[in-house]
Amino acid sequence: MGLTLVFGVLGIADFAHGDKMGWGMFLAFFVVSSEGANLGFAGGRFGSLSFGWGLVVGLLVAMIGVALISVVLERLVFRRLRVTGGGFFVFAIASLGMSIMLRAVIQLIWGPSNFRFTPGIHPAIEVLGGIKVKPDQFFIVGVTFLAAVLLYWLLYRTRFGKAMRATADNPGLAEASGIDTNRIRVGTWIIAGIFGALAGVMLGLQAEVRFDAGFRLLLPLFAAVILGGIGNPWGALIGGLTVGIAQEVSTEWINTGLKPGIPFVIVIVVLLLRPRGLFGQQR
C-alpha cells in the first residue's frame, strides 16, 4: 500500500520500497533481539501470540526509522532530481540505485544470515473445518485490514489526504491552488515509509528476517499494485490478497519453486486485459 501511494501520488515507481520493508523488519528485529531485551521490554507475550511489547516498540522504531530514511532520500535525491528534470526514468533508476544501497547496508550491519523475531516453534490452532491458523496470522490480517481502513480515511476524509490526491492528479494546479506540494511529497514518503515498515514487520512475523526478503517481495508488490490499480489503497489490498492467494494455491498444481513466477504471470495477464487494473478508473 505504501508503494501504491508513492507510485500514484508522486509518479515514482519506488524500486527501493522492498528494501525499505527490509529495513523495517531489521529495525524491529534489532529492538526485539538481544539489544532490545537488555533495555527491558522484550519479556512477556500477548496471549497466544508469539510476541509481546518488544515487538510493539520495535514496530514504532521501525516506522520512525523507515519514514526517516524515506524523507532523507526524498530530500537528498528525489527533490534534486525533480529540479534538474528528467522524469520517470531517472526516478526509477535512482530508486533502483538506492535499493541496492539500502540492501548493502543491511548486509553490512546484520550480515547475510536469517533470523526470527522470536525463536521457537509457535503452534497453530485449529479453527473451523480443520484449517490450522497461527494466532500471529490472525493478528496480521487484522492489522492489514486496519491499515487499509486508516489509509482510506486518510486519503478521502482528511484535508491532507485530499491534497495528496490533488497533487497526484495535477501538481501544477495543486501549486496554483496554494498547496505546498513539497510538503505533500514529504508527507507521502512518511506515510509510505510507515506502511512499508509495518509491512516489513508483519512479513518478519510470518517468515524469516532476511536481508533480501524485502527485495524478493518487490515483484509481488508491483503485481498487487498494478492489479489493484495504481494509487488505489483498496485496490492494493485486494490485489495483494489475490496475488498472495494465487501464489499459495498455485503450489497445488505446480512446482513450489515456480511460486515466484505467479505474480509475474498475473502482471502480464492484467496488462493484456485491463491495463488500468481491476478497479482502475477511466480517465
Partner: protein, 253 residues
Amino acid sequence: MTERRPLLQVEAFSGGYVDGIDIIHEVGIDLYRDEILTIIGPNGAGKSTLLKAVVGALPFERGRRWFTGEDVSGWSTPRMIASGVGYVPQVDNVFTSLSIRENLEMGGYMRNTGLRERIGEVLAMFPDLESRPNERASRLSGGQRQMLAMARALMLDPVMLCLDEPTAALSPAARGELFARIYKIHMSGVGMLMVEQNATEALVWSDRAVVMVDGEIALEGTGTEMLTSSEVGRAFLGQAEGEGFTIEEGSTL
C-alpha cells in the same frame, strides 16, 4: 471623487520560460477592479505567458508588478494566490479524479476558516455544479469543467481573476453562458483579466482590451473601440485568427 487606483499594474515587464529567451518584451498593463480587460492576439503572441507572469508562474521575469498597491515583483504563485489573485489555467484546470466538492476544498486549501460556508456560496453561483457536488470532475462537460475551474479559483475570495482562454473548445451556446457567468462574478466585485481567442465575443463583454503581437502590446482601447476599429476588424476579427495580422507598432485608433 476618490482617485481610481489600479488593482494590478505591470510595468516594463519581460520574461520567458528559458533564461535569456524572452517571450514577452517590455509589456505594461493596468487593471482596475471595476473592469474586464481582455488580451487578444494571434497564436504565440505571448498572451498566456503574460497571464502567467501576472500570477507569478513564469520562471524568468524582469520588470515590476504591483497588486493592490503593493510591489509583488518576484512573488511566487502561492503567494499571489494567497493575496487575492485567482488563476484559471487554460488546460488541466480541474483535478479530474476528485469530486466537485473536493476540487473546491483544494481551491480553498489556504483558508483556515469558513471553508464549508464558502463552498456553499461558490456552488450557489453555479447551479450546474450545485446540483451534484459529489460528481467526479472527469465526468463533467467542457463548459462545466470551466465553471468548476472558475469556482475553484473563487474559493479564496479573490479580488482579481485571471482566466486563460476560458471559452476555448466550447460550443457557442456554452460560450455565451460562460461569458455571462464571468460577467456576473465580475459584477460582484472581481477584476477580470482574460486571454481570449474568440475575440469578437470576448470584446462584447470586455470594458477594455489589449492586442498582443510578438510579445508586445500592439494596440489598446475600450471594447467598443476595438470592435468598431476597422484595423482590428479587418486584421483580426473578420478573418481567421492570427492570419495576415499586420499592424504597425505605435499606430493609434
